[in-house]
Symmetry: C2
Subunit: 357 residues, 2 copies
C-alpha cells in the first residue's frame, strides 16, 4: 500500500514530532450532518446503513468533504457483534438499540456460538475495503469495536439502561457467567479488529462507553482485564503487531495509569480530566486523545476557538496529542461549530510544534 | 433540645471515635418500600407527598421502622426551590420532573424574584419540625438541598436531560447570566438550609448530582464555587456555625481535595473512587460518606455482606467513616437487600472500632 499523504494522526499516535496537532471527532459521521440524514433516509433503517458497504462508505467520507480532518473512522455500530451472535438488533426510532433476544441467564450465555467476523461480519470488512479505496490514502482509516464490558452491558440489559440493574445483578450474582461472556467477547473482538486491520484499517479503537459505572476493582476485573487481553492478542499477531490501538473508557479519568499499562498506543480521555495532568500521568509512554467538552460545540465560534486554545496551551509542546472531543458529536450540533473547532486546531496548533523530524 | 440517643452518625461526621460505623442510605425513603408506595398512592401526586408535612414525615420514618439506621433524612425533593421560584414543577409518571416555565433566556433569569424559604417553603420546615418531634431524638435528622449547579441544570433544561444541550449552551454562550442564576440559587439554598437547621435538622447535605458532567475548570467555576459560598455562609451564621455539612458531587472522585477545601464536614463519594485512597487524600480533615455500588443490592445477601466487609476493610480503623451507598436506592431493589446491607454494618463494624472515647 502507498504511503498515507497525511500521516499526522499516525505520527502523533506514535508520539513522533508533527507539524500541527491532528484532529478528528468521535461520531464525526452522524445526524448533525444534513447529508448524513439524507443517506440514512435512503437506507431506510440504521441497520441497513451499517450493513450496506456503499452507504457506510458514503457516510464515513461525508465529514471529510466538509472539514479538514486528519483521520476517517469507519461508520458502523458497536452492536454489530451482538447482532452477529444472534441477539437480533433493532434500532427503535428515538429509543436507541433494542435486542430481540437479550441474554437473560447463564444458560443464554452458555448457548452463544462463536462467530467468524471475516465471514459473519463481512459487510463491515467490505465497507473497510471500500472506504480505503475511496480515501485513496488521503488520511488514515480508524477501525473500532465496543469493549467486552460495554457490549455485555447492552446484551444483558437488552438495550440502553438508566439503572444497569440486570448487568449489575449478573455481575454480583454470577460472576463466572459474566466472565464467560466477556471472554467470548474479548476473543471475538480481537478477531473483529484483526479482520478490520486486514481489510485496511490503519489504527484501531476500543470504545468502553460503560466502564465508568464500575468500582475501581470491578473496572479492573470486568472491563480493563478483557481490553488488556485484546491489546495483548493484537500485539502477538504478526499483521496487527504494529497497528496502533486507542483505548477509551468514558468516565475512566481515575484509572489512566491502568489503561496505559495495557500497552495500548493511545488513551482517549473525556473532559472531566485535566489534559495537562493526563500527560503528566501517562504521557511518557502513551499518546492522549481528547478532550474538549462536546457541550462547547453549542457555543458561538469565538468560544470554541478559545477552548481549543486552552486545550493546546494545557498540552504545550508535548508530543503525542490527538485533538478530539471527550465524547461524540450530538445530533443537534451545528456543522459550522464543527468547522470552527477543526479550523481552530489548524490555525492555532502549528505554533506549538517545532516542525517535523 | 435533649441529647440524641444515637449520636453515632454525628460523632463519625466529627471524626470522633464510635462503637461502630454509622449507616444510612441515600433515598432510603422511596419506591422500593411497599409502605412508601401506599403513602404515595394516598398523596395522589408526588408533589402532594412532599408538600403535606404529615405524609412527608410518615415516609421519612418508614425506613427507620424496618432497618437499624443511624440517621433519618428529610423526605423532600431538590426541586422544591425552583418550584417556589415560580417555574411550575410537575412530576410526570415515568418521565421524571418537568418545569412548565423553564428558564430559556438571560431575561428569564433576570426576572426571577427572591424567595424566603421560611415563608415560601413553609411546608418543608413544617415537615422538619414534625419529623423531629416524631423521631423523639432516636437518631439525628439530615436536611438537604440540591447544589446551585444541579438546580440550574434542571431549571434551564426544563427537566432531566441526556445531552445537557441547553445548560451547556448557556454556560458557554452567556456565563454571566448563568452566574447570576447560580448566585441567586446559592443565596436561596443558604437560607433554605439555614431554615431547615432552625426547624430541627441536625446535619445538612448538598447534592450535586450533575457536577460530574463538567470539566475540572468549569466544575470549580460553576459548581464548587457556589457550594463553597454556601458552606462559608452557613459557617458565619451563629446558629449554623457548628452544623455539619456534607457535600456530595456524583462523579467528583477526581476533585475530592477541592471539595474538602470548601470547609465542609464530610464528603460523599460514589463507588468509582477507592475509599481507602479517598481517606488518604482527604481523611485527615474530612469525614467520608459512602460508597457501596448500589448495584450490589441486586445481589444475594451473602454478596452484600462481603461487599460491606470489603469497604470496612478498606477504611480500616480510620475515624470519620459513614457507611452509605455511592448513589440512591433504586425502585426495583428488595427491602431485604437493604436489611442485609444495614445488618452487615452492625455485625461487622464494631470489631473495627476500639470503643467510644
Amino acid at each position: 500500500m502507498r504511503q498515507t499523504h497525511n500521516d499526522c494522526f499516525l505520527r502523533a499516535l506514535a508520539r513522533k514530532p508533527v507539524d500541527r496537532t491532528p484532529v478528528w471527532l468521535m461520531r464525526q459521521a452522524g445526524r448533525y450532518l444534513p447529508e448524513y440524514r439524507a443517506s440514512r433516509e435512503r437506507a431506510g433503517s440504521f441497520m441497513n446503513l451499517c450493513q450496506t458497504p456503499e452507504l457506510a462508505c458514503e457516510v464515513t467520507l461525508q465529514p471529510l468533504q466538509r472539514f479538514r480532518l486528519d483521520a476517517a473512522i469507519l461508520f458502523s455500530d458497536i452492536l454489530t457483534i451482538p447482532d452477529a451472535l444472534g441477539l437480533g438488533l433493532e434500532f427503535l426510532e428515538g429509543e436507541g438499540p433494542h435486542f430481540h433476544r437479550p441474554l437473560r441467564s447463564a444458560s443464554d450465555i452458555a448457548a452463544l456460538g462463536r462467530i467468524d467476523p471475516e465471514q459473519d461480519l463481512a459487510y463491515v470488512m467490505d465497507a473497510v475495503r471500500l472506504i480505503r479505496r475511496e480515501l485513496d490514502n488521503r488520511v488514515p482509516l480508524i477501525g473500532f469495536a465496543g469493549s467486552p464490558w460495554t457490549l455485555a452491558t447492552y446484551m444483558v440489559e437488552g438495550g440502553a439502561s438508566a439503572t444497569f440493574a440486570r448487568i449489575k445483578s449478573l455481575m454480583f450474582s454470577d460472576p463466572p457467567a459474566l466472565q464467560q461472556l466477556l471472554s467470548l467477547l474479548a476473543a471475538t473482538i480481537t478477531d473483529y479488529l484483526s479482520a478490520q486491520q486486514a481489510a485496511g484499517a490503519q489504527a484501531l479503537m476500543l470504545f468502553d462507553t460503560w466502564g465508568g459505572i464500575l468500582t475501581p476493582r470491578d473496572y479492573q476485573r470486568f472491563s480493563l482485564h478483557y481490553m488488556a487481553q485484546i491489546v495483548a492478542s493484537l500485539r502477538t499477531h504478526t499483521h496487527t503487531a504494529d497497528t496502533p490501538v486507542i483505548v477509551f473508557t468514558k468516565g475512566g479519568g481515575q484509572w489512566l495509569e491502568a489503561i496505559a499499562a495495557t500497552g495500548c498506543t493511545g488513551v482517549g480521555i473525556d473532559w472531566t480530566t485535566d489534559i495537562s495532568e493526563a500527560f503528566t500521568r501517562i504521557g511518557a509512554t502513551t499518546a492522549i486523545q481528547g478532550n474538549m467538552d462536546p457541550g462547547v460545540l453549542y457555543a458561538p465560534d469565538a468560544v470554541i476557538h478559545a477552548e481549543v486554545a486552552s486545550i493546546l496551551d494545557a498540552v504545550g509542546n508535548r508530543a503525542g496529542h490527538i485533538m478530539n472531543l471527550g465524547h461524540g458529536i450530538q445530533p443537534g450540533m451545528r456543522p459550522e461549530a464543527i468547522a470552527a473547532f477543526v479550523d481552530a486546531v489548524h490555525e492555532l496548533s502549528p505554533a506549538r510544534h517545532h516542525g517535523p523530524a
